[in-house]
């Protein structure tokens, strides 16, 4: 469970806060959706949750622990991030993208890390890509590699930022099916403005508008609420 308590964020040199004292609870579900239009503050929220930004005020707790007090290794084991741009390491092979952090950060022997990485790739159905370079694979494949890389640290939660932005309709459908399968082990929090996709994969979510939580609850309800013309 991720709890957000009175969270505000003001970018340096900006007058208006991007997040305005929001409070929300993300229950530990297979897939939880953070929804909102561009500029609603959802990426800033993601960056705060991922500890890339320090909240101006308020705090975030994961499973009862303030993330600000967690050490780096513990935190990254708790929460993984897959970026909208994926940010695969272009100079490393797919396999090496997966093994780098386990070997260098967590001191897993290279052979073990390789074995785990191959298993992970096989599990995600991309075992044949191990020796390719990021520039040599498709967008959908890269998406899976990025998730696989995050899963190598075995986090309890994983944030996915706009996971469908680079996918076409068919790939999005495949991805939705695949994510649902995978979410039995790891809880995914998808941050997206793609409401139909959110409906495909998530039951519950929150909807951000202009730095405030406008709606919370079941995704279907949220959609009904926000898709009505504003009163």
């Amino acid at each position: 469970m991720i709890e957000i308590k009175d969270l505000s964020y003001v970018y340096p040199n900006a007058d208006e806060p991007v997040l305005k004292q929001i409070s929300a609870t993300f229950p530990r579900e297979n897939v939880f959706a953070v929804l909102g239009q561009s500029g609603s503050g959802k990426t800033t929220l993601l960056n705060c949750i991922a500890r890339f930004l320090h909240p101006t005020s308020g705090q975030i707790e994961i499973d009862g622990k303030d993330i600000a007090s967690m050490d780096e290794l513990e935190f990254r084991h708790t929460l993984g991030v897959v970026f909208q741009k994926l940010n695969l390491f272009p100079h490393l092979s797919v396999l090496r993208n997966l093994t780098l952090a386990p070997q260098k950060v967590f001191d897993t022997p290279l052979e073990d890390a390789r074995k785990q990485a191959r298993e992970m790739l096989d599990r995600l159905g991309i075992g044949d890509l191990a020796d390719r370079y990021p520039a040599q694979i498709s967008g959908g494949q890269a998406q899976r590699v990025a998730i696989a890389r995050g899963l190598m640290l075995q986090p309890r939660y994983m944030l996915l930022d706009e996971p469908t932005s680079a996918l076409d309709a068919q790939t999005t459908q495949d991805f939705a099916n695949w994510l649902t399968e995978l979410s039995n082990v790891t809880s995914f929090i998808i941050v997206t403005h793609d409401l139909p996709f959110a409906q495909m994969v998530a039951t519950h979510g929150v909807y951000l508008t202009d730095g405030n939580i406008q709606a919370t609850g079941e995704v279907t309800d949220i959609l009904n609420q926000v898709q009505q013309p504003t009163s």
Binding site: A50, F52, E72, L73, F75, R76, H77, G80, V81, F83, K85, N87, L88, F89, P90, H91, L100, A101, K104, V105, F106, Y133, P134, A135, Q136, R149, G150, L153
Partner: protein
Amino acid sequence: MRKYKFNVSMMWLLLCAGLFVAMTRPAYAQSPELQADNKPLRVALTGKFPPFNYYNQQGELAGFDVDVANAIGKHIGRKIQFVPTEWDGILAGLLGGKFDTIIGSMAITPVRARQVNFSKPYYHSGAQLFVHRDNPAQVYSIDECDGLKISAVLGETYQHYLDENHPNIDVVTLKSSVEIFELLQQQRVTGFVTDRLVGSWQIKQADRPFVPVGGMLYSEDIGIPVRMDDTALLKQINMALAKIKADGTMKRIHQKYFGLSTTADNAGKATMSDAVIARKLLKGFAVTIGIAVASLAIGFVLAIPCGVILNKPKGGMLILYWPVRTVVDFLRGTPVLIQLLFAWMGLGLSPFTAAIGTLGINAMAYMAEVIRSGLMSVDQGQVLAARALAMNHLQTFRFVVWPQAFRVAIPPLMNCVVALTKDTALVAVISVSEVIREAQAIISVTFEPTKYYFFVAVMFFVVTFPLMKLASMLERRIAQRGFNHD
């Protein structure tokens, strides 16, 4: 007085007798064979013009002119009687019949040629620029000396020549060559101008590291004058000169005084054996490569932290940004030559240390910029991705940012390597004996700049060309791995 009168009347008597003989046997009087038997040839010289004519330690007349005169005497079958005479009265003495000829290094000039007949030249000489072998000003002819200090002996024709023909040269006049040599040894003047042969001999005697550079400023033909009416003697002297040139006597005399073969017929060119030239060039090039490798190593190692600092990293290193920025800009914005001279003369470093140090920090400045732009080209998302994987700053830099930045930087870094390798040529100026200086040394002897500068250019190219090829090969290899399209 009586005695004097008597002598005068005796002289008149003799003169009349002589006239009588001359009138009755004119053909006989002009015959050289007859003269050969009786009178020695009276030869004037100053005895104050070493190495051409001077008094040696035994107090005897010696020198090039003396040896030539004796050789001529031998060939025409007459004893030589030297008549030491002051230079300013020497022509008048000849015209007045005090002696028969002058073998005293007299230049053939139009003015003199109106008064006397000159033999064919027995040697050529002329004004020559000499410089220190280190040649810090890098001058290779008098035309490159504008604004520089060039010395000449006070009152000698060379001083006037320089004043008239090279008004922009700062002519430093001194009493004698001794003072000039001392000043040049301390490199307080760039060079001096004097007679090529006299200068060469003096340098040899003084054992100084001075060398002639460039051609002669002007050349003079040195001849042997006789009176206008003395055509027979002129003919004899010319024949004798031809003979002593042909039989090698003249060459031997030249060797004796000047070592180098600088006779009238073979002026100018000294020799250096091919083996010596090859050894000098290769040795010099080894020094060049050594300096390049050492500077590049220093430069690269220093460039990495500097490049990181220039990329404005977050945290404490930001304090270092402006100092590094200033140093890098200053180094890139000032001529390497000035930096070299500053390190060498300003800081008083040894030439070698100054060379490697200056080129090293120069390489650092250029490479730091290249590395900075390489680092800048790495997407910030890469850093976030590394952080998401729990990597610390150092791990992120080492495994994620640096490998990407370095790949981007390789081609421009290679350009830096090539540029710096070429820049080593500049260190010749601060008297490091690298290949350019060795080439200059060779050229100062062989006078073949085209050939040896071309050789040196080829040597550089042999090294830089593979580097350039390697750069483009690496560039292709990176592209092949799909690196360039993230």
